[in-house]
């Protein structure tokens, strides 16, 4: 069972309503333009993800997953390195992580 593209379109639209209706401090028009542009890109990403994934619906049987089980093939093969680097990037760049769960606190000025 693969996910339907429509599911992602629906999700994309759902994401759109909230943020667009948020009050903005100033320069509402500019913000809305940026927001709309961001959303379009995000929606494109959401569509691109499953589109790339669709060919993967070809069956890979459990006993064919030996390569995928190798340490170097894990999503995070070096978790300590990821933690160290991400912490530095977040303290030196404007981008706030990947949107996932994490704590604040910078240890920097």
């Amino acid at each position: 069972m693969c996910l339907e593209l429509n599911d992602f379109k629906r999700l994309g639209r759902g994401q759109g309503h909230g943020p667009l209706s948020l009050p903005c401090n100033r320069n509402n028009a500019a913000n809305r333009r940026l927001t709309a542009r961001g959303l379009r890109l995000v929606a494109a990403g959401l569509l691109a993800g499953p589109a790339l994934a669709l060919p993967g619906c070809a069956d890979v049987q459990p006993w064919q997953r030996g390569h995928l089980a190798k340490p170097q093939m894990q999503l995070e093969p070096l978790p300590v390195q990821r933690t160290v680097r991400e912490h530095t990037y977040v303290s030196r760049e404007a981008t706030m992580g990947g949107g996932g769960a994490s704590g604040g606190g910078c240890g920097c000025n």
């Binding site: 943020p19 499953p50 093939m73 093969p77 390195q81 706030m96």
Partner: protein, 868 residues
């Protein structure tokens, strides 16, 4: 139907895995099994929830420990030498990932950073005297007041201004930072997560906190994973909440040079008990809500993809209390001055620095994607990642990264990585702000009134500017046996305006780079059971022989046990905490404030004394037995200390340069590394004696400073600064359920003075204990300790703090009696099989101090070790 036996074999392999899970890691099973079973096990492990898999499934039980260092390059200050070193950070990271019970997992992470050094506080045109241009050294006070500010009709800056004449000046659009610094500060962060797994689902819940003097952050999160499509596809959903509070003291050296109008209601003015100064504390709170929806999909037997969509909303005080913005106002009604430059007339600008102000909300979206491909001919893995980020502050960013995981055989794996990052600037970012209008000055203070600025959000923090960054590095890992993996990594990072995607980034004055490295080890906590294959007798020997065979010395006793078999390796971790709080003592008696003021500081009067002081020490304990009578030990350590000061009753008024405006001082970083050899002298049933000889190398800093340039109190330096000789003699005995021991140990300084002119006193310690085995795995101990330490010899030969007894060599050392209560656990079954845990509390009984010192409240020691 030909698949049936295979399906059955997989089912058997899974059943086998589940049965063995409590005692052995899946890897151990794979290592011992037949090739066919190995392949099946590897296949089974690919099922999320059963082993490492693309869908975030957990690997085996692990403990990790790592130390890292970060150093930033100096900023381009156009030939001016800054009095400050760029930022440096020392960090320590530890984690444990353990199976609590079938399908329940626990994750614990701990991080400690100590950082200090200079960062930009403001930016201004060089021509206007930004950063004291024209002088040779920037001083200890951030320089925000500009000497002159002239612009032409197009608002281009002109300078330098010299003695009232405009003739020497020229157009100069270069910008410069004003740097600011702070004394070292330490941040500690811990978090705990619990995961419950089902066949097709997993739920994780966790919480944590990050604590610094000026910033507290508390967070909680929930995550779920749903495997579907016969585990080819996994969906994840994460929710997080963060609640932060800022309690920041504004830079006392710079405070009088910037305007705080916009934050008047958030700033508390607290009179400093130590001086005529007032401490200005900015308080703010912030909340973040975040969510991420992720999808991972196995594409082929050699590739999978993971993608996610995240949203984060931040509200509250989102600014940086240590950043200011330079504003310039050119009154259009003025008559311009003519100059000798043809056609150039100059207008005077009124300038002023203002605390930066950001919008109080921020909505952020991310879309990220990671593609992982196995490259069979090389047995390598290629990771390609991309992340798009956009927020309603006007910042868009793109991140590309690529990793190549290459196993080389012999347990080596090399993983080079490369990353490119580019961001656009925030709507309210400018290096400085200039307007054609009369300056909105406050009639009372004469400063720019931040409530009457033409903009309502403004920042000159270069993190919000447009720029690009490239970074690259390599991680090298080496597996030693089945249980231990050493890992070291290096990365260099370069931030530059001209690396921005599409151009138009910030000019080069804001460019900087950093490098960071870290080294550590990873221990497979389930691996010791691998050595139990020789049967129960061997296992028994391993568990008890590995930890002394005598119930184990109390946690606070170092060098308390030996490894008894040639070739054995032990990895351990030791944590020590001690606290001083309460009365000030002189000898064994309580000292009054009046006595301390009069006598505690040599020829001058004391003004301050410690209110409390705490120390945390983290040590890695590595031990190897080349023969059965000799053990070699390596003990790197990481220390952090915090001292809060109070003003003594009857203290004299402050004398200028040593005014404390930050009553809490912190230091932290790498301590002295110890290298030891233990030699077995006697080993009979019921009696064992070994001697230890070793040295401690002066790797810990003795040049830690306070705000400004003064060396901090002697006792807060991170090391001794000298090579030290550390002998010990240990006796262990046991009979039935009873066990006992005694130890003599000492520290002899091998040098007359360290690089800053002093040595700590020598130390002698004797201790004896008795223990009783409460169960076959738990031992309780009681012990007595006597410690003698000399006072400091010599004194600082560089500028240093001299405000209280802690700044004088004769108020160090003394002799002390303590009583310790401890528990030792040698785990012989279950998920922690083969591990040794011990904890001990030392309760002071009597203090007899040299000079004037604060009484001790107690010390906690906790150790963990595992032998292979």
């Amino acid at each position: 139907m030909r698949q049936r036996p295979l399906v059955r074999a997989i089912r058997d392999a899974i059943a086998l895995l589940r049965r063995k899970r409590r005692r052995r890691s899946a890897l151990a099973v794979a290592a011992q099994a037949s090739p066919a079973l190995k392949a099946l096990t590897a296949a089974a492990m690919a099922l999320p929830g059963l082993g490492p898999a693309p869908s975030h499934a957990a690997p085996g039980d692990l403990g990790t420990f790592s130390y890292g260092h970060y150093t930033e390059s100096a900023r381009d200050l156009y030939g001016i030498k800054s009095a400050y070193k760029p930022i440096q950070v020392d960090s320590l990271f530890g984690s444990a990932h353990v199976t609590l019970a079938d399908r329940w997992k626990l994750d614990f992470n701990f991080t400690q950073d100590t950082w200090g050094g200079a960062t930009p506080m403001a930016t201004a045109p060089l021509a206007w005297g930004g950063n004291q241009y024209g002088q040779t050294l920037t001083g200890a006070t951030p320089y925000l007041a500009l000497t002159s500010a002239y612009v032409d009709a197009d608002l281009n800056p002109y300078g330098p201004y010299s003695s009232g004449t405009l003739n020497a000046i020229r157009k100069d659009t270069r910008l410069a930072h004003t740097l600011s610094t702070a004394s070292p500060e330490t941040r500690q962060q811990g978090d705990l997560h619990v995961t419950r797994e089902w066949d097709d689902f997993a739920l994780t819940a966790g919480a944590g906190a990050s604590i610094e003097n000026d910033y507290h952050s508390y967070f909680g999160d929930l995550g779920g994973r749903w495997d579907l499509n016969r585990k080819l596809t996994s969906l994840t959903l994460g929710l997080s909440y963060t609640n932060d509070s800022t309690y920041a003291q504004l830079d006392p050296g710079a405070f009088s040079y910037f305007s705080i109008d916009a934050y008047k209601n958030q700033i508390k003015n607290i009179p400093d008990p130590n001086s005529a100064n007032v401490r200005h504390i900015l308080e703010g709170t912030r909340q973040d809500w975040g969510t991420r929806l992720g999808l991972s999909q196995i594409l082929t037997k050699d590739a999978f993809i993971e993608t996610g969509l995240g949203f984060r909303r931040s509200t509250g005080y989102l600014g940086n209390p240590y950043k200011t913005v330079e504003f310039a106002f050119v009154d259009p009604s003025q008559t311009p001055d003519t100059t000798s430059l043809p056609g150039v007339s100059l207008y005077a600008a009124t300038t002023g620095a203002v605390m930066e102000k950001r919008p109080e909300e921020r909505n952020q979206w991310t879309w990220d994607m990671r593609y992982v491909q196995y490259v069979e001919p090389l047995d390598a893995a290629l990771h390609l990642g991309y992340r798009f980020y956009s927020d309603d502050w006007g910042i868009d960013s793109h991140t590309f990264d690529v990793d190549w995981g290459q196993p080389l055989g012999g347990g080596w794996t090399v993983t080079p990585h490369f990353r490119y990052y580019s961001q656009s600037e925030a709507d309210f970012y400018q290096p400085y702000f200039i307007y054609r209008q009369a300056a909105p000055l406050d009639p009372v203070s004469g400063k720019v009134n931040a409530n009457r600025l033409p903009v309502d959000a403004y920042s000159s923090d270069q993190r919000l500017s447009g720029y690009g960054a490239v970074s690259g590095g390599v991680t090298v890992a080496k597996a030693i046996g089945k249980a231990i993996t050493l890992e070291a990594a290096f990365e260099y990072y370069s931030h530059a305006g001209n690396l921005k995607l599409g151009g138009g980034g910030e000019p080069s004055y804001a460019d900087f780079g950093y490098y960071q490295w870290n080294a550590g080890l990873k221990v497979d906590l389930s691996a010791p059971s691998l050595f139990d294959t020789g049967g129960d007798e061997h296992a028994h020997h391993h568990h008890h022989g590995g930890h002394g065979g005598h119930g184990g010395a109390p946690a606070g006793v170092m060098f308390g046990h030996m490894l008894h078999e040639a070739g054995q390796v032990m990895v351990g971790y030791r944590y020590m905490y001690n606290l001083q709080r309460g009365n000030m003592l002189h000898g064994s008696d309580k000292a009054s404030d009046g006595q301390i003021v009069a006598n505690g500081c040599g020829n001058i009067q004391c003004r301050e004394a410690s209110q409390d002081m705490s120390m945390h020490m983290h040590m890695l304990d590595l031990m190897y037995a080349p023969t059965d009578w000799l053990n070699l030990m390596l003990m790197p350590q990481f220390v952090s200390m915090e001292m809060t000061l109070r003003t003594l009753d009857g203290a004299p008024p402050p004398s200028g340069q040593h005014n404390h405006t930050r009553p809490t001082h912190t230091t932290g970083g790498v301590g002295d590394i110890g290298m030891y050899a233990l030699v077995k002298l006697l080993d009979q049933p019921g009696h064992h004696v070994h001697a230890g000889i070793g040295i401690s190398a002066p790797t810990g800093s003795v040049k830690e400073k306070m705000h400004g340039n003064d060396l901090i109190h002697y006792g807060m330096q991170l090391g001794s600064g000298t090579w030290d000789f550390k002998p010990s003699l240990t006796y262990l005995g046991d009979a039935g359920d009873w066990n006992w021991g005694a130890q003599l140990s000492g520290t002899k300084r091998l040098e007359d003075k360290n690089e800053v002119g002093f040595t700590f006193g020598d130390i002698f310690q004797s201790t004896a204990w008795g223990g009783y085995a409460l169960t076959d795995w738990l031992n309780a101990t009681v012990r007595g300790v006597y410690t003698l330490q000399g006072s400091i010899h010599g004194e600082y030969n560089q500028p240093h703090s001299e405000t209280g007894p802690m700044d004088f060599p004769n108020s160090y050392g003394g002799h002390y009696w303590d009583v310790g209560f401890g528990l030792n656990a040698n785990v012989s079954s279950g998920p922690f099989e083969g591990n040794n845990f011990a904890v001990e509390w030392l309760q002071p009984v009597e203090d007899h101090v040299n000079g004037y010192q604060q009484e001790r409240r107690g010390a906690l020691s906790a150790t963990w070790s595992v032998a292979f």
